[in-house]
Symmetry: none
Subunit: 189 residues, 4 copies
DNA sequence: CATGAATGAGGGTTCATTCAT
DNA sequence: CATGAATGAACCCTCATTCAT
């Protein structure tokens, strides 16, 4: 019954993600959002009670994606797992920028937003633990250069995600290339 | 003699930089700025005609700093030069984030802002050329792993700047550590 | 046969009255109304063309109630009639507050609303005339203190209706008590 | 320094009071308010942080007026004191309607509003106590008809305030007239 | 020049009302 | 007919910018 929907919740979140990446959290406006959808600004409120909920839901969804893919990775071969993890992160590279703004969301306004952000935070630690687990393993198995502190190794690895892929190399190869550089370095062997 | 000067242009830009880094371009407000200075909000307009000009001037000044330091580096030993360049960039690491927002500035509002951004863009290419020059040299001298495309090597090198220094290692050592990792990799030699 | 009827006109007006008393005219929303009924907000428009018509219809119905009860009162014994009239008014005490908002209704929107309000106004004068008739009679029969202007006597009598019944005395006794106070005063005899 | 003010805080509260009485709490809009002042709507925010604070400040000011006048009344002659108190209340008759909406104010938005409302509540009980004190005294001194429960006597007395003064009798005489009616009743002595 | 005050544009949100199923 | 969804008008509030002292 009723009219058919102007846009789906999923489309809404897609555009939200795009605009958040493009303009940052503070530059994200509902007018902008509705301008990138087919309907009126007020129609957005059929889906979410306020701006905070939209952003939080967007972040949660992005996190769920990553979490699901990451948890599907087998961890028996730690170096292989790290490589796969990097691929996962690269596939959802934008999401990394997104989450940096998670704490800017005013949770007082909406419990739904607060819950979503709570989920994101939890998932964040889950992911971190997985990463640390794999790195410790890699170190124990002697894959890593022991003269570099582990946190630095991890930091650099994680930072690879944001390397701009200016040659538009397909993600799987891009992931391999970055992993190779990270492991072997840019210098002559 | 009239009222005593409220704040200097330099103080204004200092706070602008701080706040831009803290809140991002879209989260930067003149109310915030005047709140971090000693005078009234309206006094800002004695120095700059509008918000865009302030941000543009801030970016220009930051770029001038880097440009000056970078141009002072001798380029005879290319690897040494790269190491020094990385240090320079790390010293002004925040500024790197800043420049990402340069294109968000609405240049239609003010020609002064447009000019400053133009300067920033030019300087950007100057820096890139220096970097490329050094990298080509490094490749020619056989310092680099030839199996990795040069743009990727450069991209990864440049991206090192944003690696979070979570252990708060002093910049000179931090620079050496990152350089070492970039050159030699995280893996066992 | 189609869908089953969502709610009757009478239920709609019942809730409208309740909510008008609870929140006042300006605090009365259709969202609130539909929230207190079984059907959808849009279904309301099957019965009334707009908000104004609903409120006007509600007022008219309340007025009809009072009018009917009031006109059934015999006026041979004027003091007895006044007592009965007070009881009638007290039984519909809330309605008295309601009518104060009658003039706030924007009649330009709907002729139906305008007609209903017109009816209410007419009935209002009818009631007033009845009251005046009885008061004049009471005065002629020497029941009233002649040192007080009749309009004041009437005003105070009418205002009794809004006296808050904080002890929750049943309406018949409450009516007698107020009437007694009005007639005899609060002072020692 | 700076421009001269468009309107004073006091003018703002005057209009607020007028409009609150005219339209009720829910019908009070800042657009309405600015329309009744000389400046723009946004100028209002130079004085108060939000709508709630305005209404709360308005109520507080009205209460302060009454409180001050009421506390200046000598209580040795209780009947005289009651008469004077009635005069005070009549002089600020509108204020009585105002306060009924005090609890509608959303205090979560502003602590300033919360404080003002707290003040109003406290003052309310102060006034009630004064009234009760006087009534108990009046009863003890045998001025009151003992067949009527005191709460009812008080309720009716308090309700006198809202009696519409349709003949526009000056307040002092109006007060005397009402007091006389309340004490002696409308009936023949 | 420095400022406090004024203001309009713009964004968030609600709500009466309309529309298509 | 009953409904869920769509929508524009209207309101609250913030902020860049202008103005008069």
């Amino acid at each position: 019954m009723g009219r058919k929907q102007a846009f789906t919740k999923s489309e809404l979140l897609d555009q939200t993600k795009k605009l958040l990446i493009e303009h940052g959290y503070e530059g994200f406006h509902l007018k902008l959002l509705s301008g990138n959808l087919v309907g009126a600004r007020s129609t957005i409120y059929q889906y979410y009670a306020n701006k905070e909920e939209i952003v939080a839901a967007c972040m949660k969804r992005a996190m769920e994606n990553v979490l699901q893919k990451a948890s599907a990775i087998g961890e028996t071969d730690c170096m292989e797992a790290l490589q796969q993890l990097l691929t996962v992160y690269l596939e959802e590279a934008d999401f990394h920028q997104l989450l940096g703004d998670a704490h800017k969301i005013n949770k007082a306004n909406s419990s739904a937003a607060a819950n979503d952000i709570e989920f994101v935070d939890q998932a964040h630690t889950t992911l971190k633990k997985q990463l640390e687990r794999l790195f410790v393993l890699a170190q124990q198995e002697g894959h890593l250069n022991t003269s570099i502190p582990l946190p630095v190794v991890i930091g650099v690895f994680f930072n690879l995600i944001d390397t701009p892929n200016m040659m538009n190399i397909p993600t799987p190869q891009w992931s391999k290339l970055l992993f190779q550089m990270w492991l072997g370095g840019a210098g002559r062997r």
